[in-house]
């Protein structure tokens, strides 16, 4: 074994043990969150039970869970959940396709950027919920309207992050690819696009959160079905238990989506791991 091989091996060992230490660091604290939330729920339950808080004002967590079960069992809440998810992801996917495509073009071509930039500057700062009346006039209050609204909200973070990702591509990597004989097309596909992936993924994360907010808000205003609609309805008839149940469902949905994104993100970014 030569000196280099030996030192290389030592280096590899070091990086492996550092990785293990990193894993342990993460594993050490995994239960903090669940325990904290459990304690919080127990405290809540105890306060309501022993503090004589009226149920119409603040229901017990255990009652909220039971109500949520009843909503699924007798009130077809699953249908509302599916409908809401369909609207959220419909708009999100549409925005992702258009946003990433347009973002790549804008990042790569100064001319296309110059044309589109003025439109983006004009539309981006408008609160998307302010477009609600116009979209209702154009599209009615059905799924197409919901999806359009969500897509409008989602497209900007995706588009802007994609442009930034493309522009931030290291000049040196492009030079190296040209040196190895890459065609302009190959440079875009094999260098610029993969280099932009982390930024694009950051945009997608932001966008999904925005989509959830917009769809639920729009459902509360206009829809008859969907989680937002059911939430609004329950509030109007002072069914506080149902209000909490739907909020709980929204929270669970949020956690599930965030965790799923983390998973996908760690696969996409696996080369960043030391």
């Amino acid at each position: 074994m030569t000196q280099v091989e030996r030192s290389a091996e030592v280096e590899a060992e070091t990086s492996k043990s550092m990785q293990k230490a990193g894993d342990r660091l993460r594993d050490d604290t995994w239960w903090y969150g669940p325990v904290a939330i459990s304690l919080f729920l127990v405290a809540w339950e105890a306060c309501v039970r022993f503090g004589n808080v009226p149920e119409i004002f603040l229901p017990r967590p255990s009652l909220v869970v039971v109500t949520l079960y009843e909503l699924f069992a007798y009130k077809q809440l699953a249908y509302d959940l599916m409908l809401t998810l369909y609207r959220i992801f419909g708009g999100f996917v549409l925005a992702a396709v258009v946003g990433i495509g347009l973002g790549l073009l804008m990042g790569m071509s100064r001319r296309i950027y110059a044309v589109c930039d003025i439109f983006i500057a004009a539309i981006y700062p408008v609160p998307k919920i302010a477009l609600l009346p116009l979209l209702v006039i154009w599209l009615g209050t059905g799924n197409i309207f919901q999806i359009a609204l969500s897509a409008l909200g989602c497209i900007f973070p995706i588009l802007i992050n994609t442009i930034i990702g493309v522009r931030q591509c290291d000049e040196g990597l492009i030079l190296a690819a040209r040196d190895l004989g890459a065609t302009p097309m190959q440079i875009q596909r094999k260098v610029v696009l993969p280099a932009a992936v982390p930024a694009i993924f950051g945009g997608l994360r932001l966008a999904l959160g925005i989509s959830i907010i917009l769809v639920v808000a729009a459902e509360m205003q206009t829809a008859r079905y969907g989680l937002g609609a059911k939430l609004q309805l329950a509030g109007q008839v002072l069914e506080t238990g149902q209000v909490f149940a739907i909020l709980l469902l929204l929270a669970i949905m949020g956690i599930a989506l965030t965790k799923a994104q983390d998973r996908i993100g760690s696969v996409v970014d696996r080369w960043r791991a030391k």
Partner: protein
């Protein structure tokens, strides 16, 4: 017809700097780079030596002058032709961070459309040649600087280039790693008898690796002198202790000293 030399003729390069004032990077540079030799280009920082490399490599277009690739048949005059195969090793490595070592090394072959199996095989043997066996599936972020540059070197030699450009290849590495890699490169170069053009700001490196050393002036970059290095090959680190080495060093440093001062003042 055999590749005979690169002929750089009356090359000048100007560009607009950030404050829109024109900067002259190179001024009337003419150099011959004979095939099968290692030519080192040494000069103060900012003398345009990296720009010269980019122009020769065809990655930047010069304002004036031309670069010709000459081919000969052993006798008579050489005629200019299409550029031969070339590859570059960069100071900042420029490895694609999302690709593993083997996929980085095979990148150029992949761009050419070579079949997966064949490029894998070639990449593996290039990785062996730079003593990185066992690290094929690592990402660049998991490697040290010296290892990264060996990946860069493997990525270049796997293309079996006629000309290998080295742009301050060891500039970003620590002193010991640099010494070791210089020796390794010297061996590799002697074995392959390739045409190598080495850009460096280290006089020792220029002499140690070179058959010829081109000394450049501070901006605007011009050729100050060309020296032949007649030290015997194969060279090991010990060559630096020889008297001839010291004399060459003094001569080159003498040429550079004023230029370095000028580049610091400007």
């Amino acid at each position: 017809m055999q590749f005979d030399s690169i002929s750089v003729e009356g090359l000048s390069h100007r560009f607009l700097s950030r404050n829109r004032s024109p900067t002259v990077a190179l001024s009337d540079v003419s150099i011959q780079f004979p095939a099968g030799k290692v030519t080192s280009i040494v000069g103060p920082s900012g003398c345009g030596k990296s720009t010269l490399l980019l122009i020769m490599r065809g990655l930047v277009e010069a304002t004036d002058g031309k670069v010709r690739f000459l081919y000969g048949n052993g006798s008579g005059t050489a005629i200019s032709g299409a550029p031969p195969r070339m590859a570059t090793v960069w100071q900042s490595f420029n490895l694609l961070p999302w690709r593993t070592v083997i996929d980085n090394v095979a990148f150029g072959l992949e761009l050419q459309g070579m079949a997966t199996e064949e490029r894998r095989e070639r990449a593996l043997s290039a990785i062996k040649a730079v003593e990185l066996g066992g690290f094929e599936q690592h990402y660049p972020g998991q490697l040290s600087g010296g290892m990264k540059q060996r990946v860069g070197l493997a990525r270049g030699i796997v293309m079996s280039p006629d000309i290998l450009f080295l742009d301050e290849p060891f500039g970003a590495l620590d002193a010991q790693t640099r010494l070791y890699l210089q020796e390794q490169l010297s061996e590799l170069v002697e074995r392959s008898a390739k045409t190598v053009i080495l850009i460096t700001h280290s006089i020792e490196e220029a002499i140690f690796l070179g058959d010829r050393v081109v000394v450049m002036t501070a901006r605007p970059g011009r050729v100050a002198a060309t020296l032949d290095i007649d030290l015997p090959r194969p060279r090991s680190f010990d060559v630096q202790k020889q008297k001839a080495f010291g004399e060459l060093f003094s001569e080159i440093y003498g040429l550079l000293r004023d230029e370095v001062r000028k580049s610091m003042l400007s």
